[in-house]
Amino acid sequence: MIILVSIIVGLGLFFIVGIAARAGLQAAAPAHHKPMFRDMPLTASFGLAVILFYVVVAILAPAIAPFGESEVLGGQYLPWGSPHYLGTDKLGRDMLTRLIYGARNTVGIAFATTALAFVVGSVLGIWAALVGGRLDQWMSRFVDALMAIPALIFSLLLLTIFGTSVLTLILVIAAVDATRVYRLARSVAQGIVVMDYIEAARLRGEGMWRLIRREILPNAMAPLVAEFGLRFCFVFLSISALSFLGLGIKPPTADWGSMVRENATLITFGDITPLLPAGAIALLTVAVNFVVDWQLHRASGLKE
């Protein structure tokens, strides 16, 4: 019964948010972008609205949160109710506050990691495609060797060697994911470097960096942006999984993965509070996936 009600409420919210966001985006968009938003599916507008919401919460976290991030307020596992609307955790910290700060910490770290993986992976990938020859062969075979090891296992191996801290976490996940970005960037760039305008730019005497930045990157943007969204989901999920396993972001920093781990015992008593941070992770990943799906569909020119 409760399940049925929550599904209906969820679907209702989905449609309301989706339709409202589509109308809002269409009104706010400049004239030449209006058709894009008019034809966007509900899933995509819902996704955009959710992403926007997370960004606002992350930026305004200290202003919105009712208490301090790791403030112990007494009373472990308090039930839902004023002033702790979502109860407290096992140390007596306010759950709602930690959820809000989690948006900043978890999403922020995942975003920084993805960005790092992207800069390193795409620059190296495009460079390899541009230079070609032996350098390309060596780098690509090296990346192939690293990619033959499952990502999670490789990250665990590296975390054992370098120890677990936020900095090593970011570097390790970025390194593992950069290999995947490298592959994509290289294969996209390989299609571009054979174009006449690259030849012309080379003959003009443009340097390597300028070629990458001004000639190749703008033309490789569409697949790379879609990949950024997907990669963000992977990174976000693996950081959450590692935090959940106790190997990622460490307390007292509020983080969704470790919040699930810390309060998991409540689930066996039928309390859904620990599912909220897990749900927050799921919702953001779904939202990003919806938007990426829409962009990929648009880019592929499929109208069916």
């Binding site: 060697i161 959940f244 799921a282």
Partner: protein, 317 residues
């Protein structure tokens, strides 16, 4: 026929080469440390004597290639080394746990592969219908869920009501039937996580073919849509389907890590997480090697099977 054997032989050699490179990477990763392993494990305050003792124990005084060679020959003989935390031989720690993990992965595969193939074919058959759109959106949602979210939702729904146990305890008296019952929730979690991807890819592989002239021919002959999809499209879509199934089975073997922790399942994943927490590098290396080998073998198998289903792949230029 001899073509096939030659192809299989070549793929096997390539797989061996990949495994060799993986073993070098897994072993060589420790060489990336700025200091050495002993210093890293004992910390800055360690005395020279304890450092020297640990180096002696780990064999760090030998040059790296020699150490690699000793490690590799030991591993090939089934000796995975000694755990630094418990001082037990790793083969002993890994033994039964490897069986448990494989059991869980196979269990999940037995549930998810038929389910996702069925859903994929149905979605392709009724494409753009409500069923297709709903299953597509659901699949996209399921892919985005962290494993522990799925796992805890299942615990909340199915373990709370007392239908299934939320923890797995394997003792000597556990029968296979008990085991199937106890590990149902972990297997179901893994099933939900991988089914979405396999289903989407099956649907995409079949739909890709539906625009081909020979499918149109079959349709114009007046064959039923079911027959067109099952007998004309599916056989030609087998190669990509086999690949995505293998990819997901490989994922199952590594994806068990989180699920095992949630359900306290005594498998390799839990052992690995404990070893990472204790920085027991020898155990982590051994388990990483096992997981990577399973990953490579499955990909190899998929490669060979999909080549056999599509003879054109065998005569590539």
């Amino acid at each position: 026929m001899s073509d096939i054997w030659r192809m299989i032989g070549r793929r096997l050699l390539l797989g061996l080469l990949t495994l060799f490179i993986i073993s070098v990477v897994i072993f060589g990763a420790t060489e990336l440390l700025p200091g050495d392993l002993a210093r890293e494990l004992l910390g800055q305050s360690a005395t020279e004597e304890t450092l020297a003792a640990l180096r002696e124990q780990l064999g760090l005084n030998d040059p790296a290639p020699l150490r690699y060679w000793n490690w590799l020959t030991d591993v090939l003989q089934g000796d995975l080394g000694v755990s630094m935390a418990t001082q037990k031989p790793i083969s002993e720690l890994v033994g039964t746990r490897l069986g448990n993990t494989l059991f869980l992965a196979l269990y999940a595969a037995a549930l998810s592969v038929p389910l996702s193939l069925l859903l994929g074919v149905l979605a392709a058959l009724w494409r753009n219908s409500v069923f297709d759109r709903a299953s597509n959106a659901l699949a996209l949602t399921a892919i985005s869920f962290p494993e522990f979210f799925v796992a805890y939702i299942l615990v909340l729904w199915l373990a709370q009501t007392g239908l299934f146990p939320s923890m797995v305890r394997i003792t000597g008296a556990t029968t296979t039937l008990d085991l199937l019952y106890m590990s149902f929730l972990p297997a179901l979690t893994l099933t939900l996580v991988v089914t979405a991807h396999m289903m989407r890819m099956t649907r995409a592989a079949i739909i890709n073919l539906l625009a081909s002239p020979y499918i149109e021919m079959a349709r114009l002959k007046g064959l039923s849509p079911m027959r067109v999809v099952l007998l004309h499209a599916v056989p030609n879509a087998l190669a990509p389907i086999i690949n995505v199934v293998a990819l997901n089975l490989a994922y199952l073997i590594t994806g068990v890590v989180v699920v095992e922790v949630v359900f306290v399942y005594p498998g390799l994943g839990q052992l690995m997480i404990d070893a990472v927490t204790n920085r027991d590098i020898a155990v982590v290396q051994a388990i990483a090697l096992i997981f990577a080998a399973a990953y490579v073998l499955l990909n190899l198998l998929a490669d060979i099977l999909s080549t056999i289903t599509n003879p054109r792949l065998m005569h590539r230029k």
